[in-house]
């Protein structure tokens, strides 16, 4: 957060030179804050306050006998030694490591294909591939749950044609891949549109110049297109990272269809939900939420900081 703090004084210093300027600056100040103010209020009330409150709560423990008790970081120590939290965290991390490269590769490949195709069919398919984004994740998970299901699903049928047994994506062995497919299906189109729009923003005379220099289609892709859409790639990477680490809706919905494959501590978010609502343990639930939020924030921030030269997202 301290990245961009370098130059705010410069402006006010020049403003102070003349009284007339100073009053103009004061006016700017007032009007600027009038515009930003309403959002600032919402921001304080719905982000700063809950986070602060969660942090406060997370430092207490309540029990039937002892009542509320200040325990400082005990809840965090408990979380980071709690096998339930750790296994959820490990699932989410390993899931991101597979999901994010896959998702980015799919969306980039489709965006690059669509960028060189100008047919009506290409335009239509662009819209159709994007369509899953408009679907609530709950409904998306439900649809795929049905497709996987042995009661409703066509999977058994399709594999039956080849005389094979269908894989059960709702079993504990394969649920990882079942979820991988759902999330990729849901988001690849959205990421594709972001990348596609960035590709459309590239000046085509660059391609002409490259072609005159003898560059092949592949060289244009690798040397011009991909480097120029690096900010967009970074943006979707950040989105994917934030989205995956807070995984909740899909496993929660599939839980009932996938008997036993998805326990209540499957992801950190599900665990926090269980702690706060099934077990009425607000303090521990808050600690997990806060720890999760902090870890995601720090990871993403470090990542953005490390790549800040290339991306425009935080520059």
């Amino acid at each position: 957060m301290t990245v961009t703090l370098a130059t705010p004084e410069r402006e006010s210093a020049t403003h102070n030179k003349k009284g007339r300027r100073r009053s103009a600056a004061a006016r700017q100040n007032l009007v600027g804050w009038l515009f930003v103010g309403p959002f600032a209020v919402v921001f304080l009330a719905l982000l700063v306050l809950p986070i602060g409150f969660a942090f406060y709560l997370s430092m207490f423990q309540s029990s039937l006998i002892g009542g509320e008790r200040f325990v400082l970081f005990d809840n965090y120590i408990k979380a980071f030694t709690d096998p339930s939290f750790l296994s959820g965290a490990w699932f989410v991390i390993s899931f991101s490591l597979v999901l994010i490269p896959l998702q980015m590769a799919v969306s980039l490949a489709v965006a690059l294909m669509l960028d060189i195709m100008t047919t009506r069919f290409a335009r239509f398919s662009r819209l159709m591939i994007f369509m899953p984004y408009a679907i609530p994740t709950v409904i998306g998970a439900l649809m795929w749950g049905f497709l996987y299901s042995s009661n409703f699903g066509p999977l058994a049928e399709i594999f039956g044609i080849f005389g094979a047994t269908a894989p059960n994506f709702l079993s504990s062995n394969l649920i990882f891949y079942g979820l991988l497919n759902i999330v990729t299906w849901q988001w690849a189109g959205y990421y594709m549109i972001i990348l596609y729009a960035a590709l459309q923003g590239i000046d085509p005379t660059l391609y002409e110049a490259a072609r005159i220099d003898g560059a092949s289609q592949w060289q244009i892709v690798l040397r011009i297109k991909i480097p120029l859409i690096a900010p967009a790639l970074l943006l979707i990477l950040v989105f994917a990272l934030i989205g995956t680490l807070q995984f909740f809706n899909e496993p929660k919905i599939l839980q009932q269809l996938a008997a036993g494959a998805i326990p209540n501590d499957f992801t950190p978010n599900m665990y926090a939900y269980q702690q706060a609502f099934s077990l009425a343990n607000d303090n521990y639930g808050s600690a997990i939420s806060f720890a999760l939020g902090a870890v995601v924030f720090i990871c993403v921030y470090i990542f953005l900081f490390a790549t800040r030269k290339r991306g425009s997202f935080i520059s």
């Binding site: 957060m1 990245v3 130059t7 006010s12 600056a25 700017q28 009007v31 600027g32 515009f35 930003v36 959002f39 600032a40 919402v42 719905l46 982000l47 809950p50 969660a54 709560l57 489709v110 060189i116 195709m117 047919t119 398919s125 591939i129 369509m131 408009a134 994740t137 439900l142 795929w144 497709l147 009661n151 409703f152 189109g189 549109i193 972001i194 990348l195 729009a197 459309q200 923003g201 000046d203 085509p204 005379t205 391609y207 072609r211 950040v238 807070q246 909740f248 809706n249 929660k252 009932q256 269809l257 978010n269 706060a276 609502f277 808050s286 939420s289 999760l292 939020g293 995601v296 953005l304």
Partner: protein, 309 residues
């Protein structure tokens, strides 16, 4: 084909495409494999919709009694399923749809208004704390929203706001990414000279904003509105946590509830329920698909704003 409301790339692209096509007519033939790949991808992305359309036509018997899961059964039962869907449990489904619309529109419009004002303020005024404020907002984009849900719930519980519509609408108003998008867009789309000209003509700051800046910001506004409406229509975790009265549920939580009821009956016991869950899922996705299709020329370009500097 009007790709994007961001002006420059559009014209460039139009001329560029012309050159590209003329210079190499052979490439059209070479793209047949690409078309095949595209067709296969489309099948993958559309197959769940197809399943939903086909199976929402079935009665319980053909839903469970064999027959292809990817083709219609003997009876096309849309009418019966429709009636069941909208009469089940006192017609609560219609209420859920209404709730979803209310939450999505109130939250979405509110979030957009706040984002437009704040984004414009950040882009066009130099005020004390601007850089710090903007850095904080960028940081907030990275705070995972679900990590905020439980803390917000506990806070709202203290204030007696849980299990009211405000518990769902208020948190939706917070959209730091929308502010970021508006600011980035306003910086380029609203020239300072134009604002100065309006001021010289004697317009006050808010009049300048409303008459000069606002029309120029329309593409980004539609994008932010669409993104906020979609994310609140699709929201599940927040209303699941906040609401306990099922008459306040949005459609996502409602269908989740039906699904868990049907699952606990087992496949056999919950047969009627499964038919209406499937049709209910189909009905619930139709409004958003219509919104996207009608507004596509706005959002497609708008989504690029964040990635194009």
């Amino acid at each position: 084909m009007s790709v994007t409301p961001v002006e420059r790339p559009k014209t460039r692209r139009a001329s560029g495409k012309l050159v590209e096509r003329r210079s190499d007519p052979r490439r059209v033939g070479g793209r047949i494999p690409l078309n095949i790949v595209l067709a296969l991808l489309m099948i993958y992305f559309l197959i769940p919709f197809w399943w939903l359309i086909v199976n929402s036509s079935k009665d319980a018997a053909s839903l469970f009694g064999g027959g292809s899961a990817l083709w219609f059964g003997d009876n096309i039962d849309y009418v019966q399923n429709f009636t069941d869907l909208f009469t089940y449990s006192g017609g609560i489904y219609a209420r859920w749809l209404g709730n979803s619309a209310l939450y999505a529109l109130a939250g979405g419009i509110g979030a957009t208004v706040l984002a437009v004002l704040a984004g414009y303020g950040f882009a066009k005024y130099s005020f004390a704390g601007r850089r710090f404020g903007f850095a904080v907002i960028l940081g907030a984009v990275m705070v995972p929203t679900t990590a905020l849900v439980i803390p917000t719930f506990v806070l709202f519980a203290e204030a007696g706001l849980t299990n009211t519509i405000w518990a769902v609408i208020l948190p939706t108003l917070l959209n730091p990414f929308g502010v970021y998008l508006m600011c980035v867009y306003a910086r380029d789309a609203v020239p300072d000279e134009l604002l100065d000209a309006a001021r010289v003509d004697g317009a006050g700051e808010f009049r300048t904003f409303a008459t000069v800046a606002l029309p120029l910001l329309r593409p980004a506004m539609v994008t932010v509105l669409l993104l906020s409406v979609v994310s609140s229509w699709n929201n599940y975790f927040l209303p699941l946590v906040m609401l306990s009265d099922n008459r306040l549920f949005p459609v996502t939580v409602g269908i989740g509830l039906w699904q868990s009821t049907a699952s606990s009956y087992g496949a056999a016991g919950g047969q009627t329920l499964w038919s209406i869950i499937i049709l209910g899922s189909l009905v619930s996705v139709i409004p958003l698909i219509i919104a996207f299709l009608t507004l596509q020329r706005y959002w497609r370009g708008g989504l690029a704003i964040g990635s194009l500097k």
